[in-house]
């Protein structure tokens, strides 16, 4: 493998990238219809934080209803009669809340935060590129996501309300408004996700092309930061998975509007076809929602521990293995669906096996901390919390993977606990780690550390108070998506737990307000950030905060991997990937390294 050639790039002098010419751009071109990947990352960040807040608000309303069913919600009287007359949430509105909470969080918060924000921000900066391969496509990606979000949001106010068949929209419930009373809302849901799919595909094409073609000289595949690896593999998943969702959405939309019967059994349709299509997209989607988080956490843990990532190659292989196996486990969502039980056995085996690469990652993170010199900065706190919570989410997944045990806990609060341990305890904590870590690079200012710590401690505590007891509710048999659990005799006894969880959610939401206020205030009032506040190694820290248009004054050359912390011969405990080699690691005088030297480098 030739080191320099792998990262060769010829586009450095394209005027498009030469920053100075863009200084005179109008406000509209600089901040609204921008082609600068950093601006687009911030645009995605603001959009997805808005949806994160909205999704949390929907969850708060759900928890009010679950804790105090039938009681008027404080301030709920501002809602229209069709949602909550007198502040009392209606069952149909509750189903919309369930559906839209999941939809907002998965498609408009977590996915754009991980892929849209960090993909856009980090890929060009960490591979030493001036921008994405296709800047205009990148802009189109964001401006497709905006109308998608707008359509999704406004569907609350159309006749019949927002979609109410769950974020999984199982047919036939979703295929005909006759079953739910929701006609237009469900169709807008389908249309919105269809548009969002194009946004994701545009982004994925860009990420893949950029990583393959635009790495700086010397930046070989195994010198890439794990964030780039994770985002690259995630982009491949997005590129392959979203078209499947798009196809399924169009079929369901046809059933709704054109009179087809793909999923309506009375005229020969097959309800399980929807589930197969949805989960064939949906399970890779689950990994789309966690792989970039793996990358962020690896990056931040190594930085905090001042130590190379333990088992870099194993980490890359584990991500690749998860991405591959992720395509053949979808049936575990359908263990109870009436699918052939023999198929259930097959999916049980693949699902148990996919736990192995996740376990490998956890052990390597622990290995990264071992014998470190840990700086407990805020991003590190979130990353360490991620590891502890991901362990719980991973272990609870084994209960479900074992199909016979899943018989009891399927579609109960055990699943709700599990998925939130992975998506909130996992992905969202990694997002907090990522935002607090790269905030200075995005905005040129530091976030307030004290308030960040308050947010971390409060979130970590309240989070566990909310979601850990849900395991118990599931074991007791409390079903998901229940408007009023007290209607079931055996669940009424569990009501004190539901009240407790609702109180804990109030705490959880309060601490998120701390984060939002700190985030937006820090953009304008935070302490000015230096280029490399965390004393990190990867290329983005070699340029000012925030980097200028075009990112790098001159094309950087990469001499080493991204996790060379605390090298024995260095004075500092970090060394930038692009710092000129010290005497001890200078290549042979002819400028090319011997194959033996390269191999040694690759294997460390």
């Amino acid at each position: 493998m030739s080191t320099a050639a792998a990262g060769a790039r010829t586009d450095w002098d394209i005027p498009e990238y030469a920053g100075e010419h863009h200084q005179e751009l109008s406000f509209l071109r600089r901040y609204v219809f921008s082609t600068d990947h950093k601006v687009i990352a911030v645009q995605f960040l603001v959009m997805s934080l808005v949806f994160l807040a909205l999704g949390g608000f929907l969850a708060l309303m759900m928890r009010w209803q679950l804790g105090f069913p039938g009681q008027p919600m404080p301030g709920g009287s501002v809602l229209p009669e069709s949602m909550a007359p007198g502040g009392i949430i209606l069952p149909e509105f509750y189903n919309s809340l369930v559906t839209m909470h999941g939809t907002f969080m998965i498609f408009f918060a977590i996915m754009p935060l991980l892929v849209g924000v960090f993909g856009n921000l980090l890929i060009p900066l960490q591979i030493g590129a001036p921008d994405m391969a296709f800047p205009k496509l990148n802009m189109a990606s964001f401006w497709l996501a905006v109308p998608a979000g707008f359509i999704m949001l406004t569907s609350f106010w159309v006749e019949g309300g927002a979609a109410g068949a769950g974020w999984t929209s199982y047919a036939p419930l979703s295929a005909s408004g006759d079953y739910t009373g929701v006609y237009l809302g469900q169709q807008l849901w389908l249309l919105s996700l269809f548009i969002l799919g194009f946004s994701s595909i545009a982004g994925a094409v860009n990420y893949i092309t950029t990583v393959v073609n635009m790495r700086a000289p010397g930046l070989t595949w195994f010198r890439l930061p794990l964030t780039v690896w994770a985002l690259f593999i995630t982009a491949i998943l997005v590129l392959l998975a979203m078209p499947i969702l798009a196809g399924a959405l169009i079929m369901l939309l046809s059933d709704q509007t054109l009179g087809t019967t793909f999923f309506l059994p009375e005229l020969g349709g097959e309800p399980l076809l929807w589930q197969h299509l949805f989960w064939f997209f949906g399970h890779p989607e689950v990994y789309i929602l966690i792989l970039p988080a793996f990358g962020i956490v690896s990056e931040v843990l190594a930085n905090g521990a001042r130590k190379p990532v333990f088992g870099y190659h194993a980490m890359v292989l584990a991500i690749a293995a998860i991405a591959f196996l992720g395509w053949i486990v979808w049936g575990h969502h359908m263990f109870m669906s009436g699918m052939n039980p023999v198929l259930g056995t097959t999916f049980m085996v693949t699902t148990l096996v996919i736990a192995v690469p996740s376990a490998i990652k956890v052990f390597n993170w622990l290995g990264t901390l071992w014998k470190g010199n840990i700086h407990f900065h805020v991003p590190f706190l979130h990353a360490a919390a991620f590891v502890s919570l991901f362990i719980i989410g991973g272990l609870s997944g084994i209960f479900m993977a074992a199909a016979p045990v899943d018989i009891h806990i399927h579609d109960t609060y055990f699943i709700v606990a599990h998925l939130h341990y992975v998506l909130f305890g996992g992905s969202l904590f990694a997002i907090f780690a990522g935002i607090t870590f790269w905030f200075p690079k995005m905005f040129g200012r530091m976030m307030n550390t004290l308030w960040n710590r308050v947010h971390f401690v409060g979130t970590f505590l309240c989070y566990n108070l909310v979601f850990f007891p849900m395991h118990g509710l599931g074991i007791e048999g409390m079903m998901r998506r229940l408007y009023d659990p007290t209607q079931y005799g055996w669940l009424a006894e569990l009501q004190p737990w539901n009240v407790f969880i609702t109180y804990a959610v109030f705490g959880l939401v309060t601490f998120q307000v701390v984060f939002f206020v700190n985030f937006f205030l820090s953009i304008w009032t935070g302490r000015k950030a230096e280029a490399n506040p965390w004393r990190a190694n990867s290329l983005e820290w070699s340029v000012p905060s925030p980097p200028p248009h075009g990112n790098f004054m001159a094309m950087p050359t990469v001499y080493r991997g991204p996790y060379e912390y605390s090298t024995p011969d260095g004075e500092e405990d970090f060394i930038l990937q692009s710092a000129s080699p010290r005497e001890s690691e200078r290549p042979p005088s002819d400028g090319t390294r011997s194959r033996a030297a390269l191999n040694e480098e690759e294997s460390t």
Partner: protein, 249 residues
């Protein structure tokens, strides 16, 4: 916060519960070890003046161990799970000579259809009941699960049994209950705005009690069929065991 299961009352329940407790034990041990190690490392290797992290890139031996050990444990769990799964869900190995009935789920109720005395589901003494239905104890019961409108899910926690009901299909499920009693039935799949109120009750009786109840219902059905008004289903959906006329409709 309760990690212990309510006692199961079906013959396969203990198999599922055993598997659950095995997984609870294994994951419990792994949880304590990994979280313990995490906390220990965080405390032990916290930043100290003059301290420098060790420059370690990894260990092939460690990777092999922590790949192989979880793999073997998980494969073992799979091997333990397969026979239990087949026993509960595989129709080809369901017990023979089971008592059979049909259970139809619709928004937002359960209707159990019982055959007449001669086993004919269309006989004049065939009958159906809503939401509260009876089955005999200590013998296998096979239910043919159907749905009329959307997907519902038959869930009786104490039976350790759950199965989606899919419109357009008849899915067989079975159980044998060892303890007579009344057991809550719920719908576990979001099925519309009344999903939360789709509760039912399975009343498990000794064979003689069940036969007596069954005979009484059949007689009532035959009398009602004799005095035919119109074939329509019972309207007392709520608490009572509403009788409807089968076959005439």
């Amino acid at each position: 916060m309760n990690w212990l299961l309510d006692p199961s009352v079906s013959t396969f329940g203990p198999d599922i519960d055993r598997l659950y407790y095995i997984i609870l034990f294994i994951t419990g041990v792994v949880f304590v070890l990994t979280e313990g190690l995490l906390v220990y490392f965080l405390v032990r290797y916290r930043r100290r003046p003059g301290q420098r992290a060790e420059y370690i890139h990894g260990s092939t031996r460690a990777e092999v161990i922590w790949t192989a050990v979880p793999f073997l444990i998980l494969v073992a769990l799979g091997l333990m799970s397969k026979p239990v799964w087949d026993r509960v869900k595989e129709p080809s190995v369901f017990p023979q000579d089971a008592y059979e009935l049909r259970l139809v789920a619709r928004q937002f109720e359960w209707e159990a259809h019982y055959p007449g005395a001669n086993g004919d589901p269309d006989a004049p003494d065939a009958f159906s009941v809503l939401n509260r239905f009876h089955v005999p104890a200590n013998e296998p019961v096979v239910i043919h699960l159907e749905a009329e409108d959307v997907i519902h899910s038959f869930f009786v926690p104490r039976f350790r049994l759950k199965q989606d009901a899919i419109p357009g299909r008849s899915i067989p499920i079975w159980f044998e209950i060892t303890e007579p009693g009344e057991y809550d039935l719920g719908c576990a799949e979001l099925c519309g705005l009344g999903h939360y109120s789709m509760d039912g009750m399975v009343i498990v009786q000794s064979r003689s009690e069940f036969d007596a109840w069954n005979a009484e219902r059949r007689t009532a059905a035959r009398e009602a069929a004799g005095a035919v008004v119109a074939g329509r289903s019972g309207s007392d959906a709520g608490e009572g065991e509403a009788v409807s006329i089968e076959g005439g409709s």
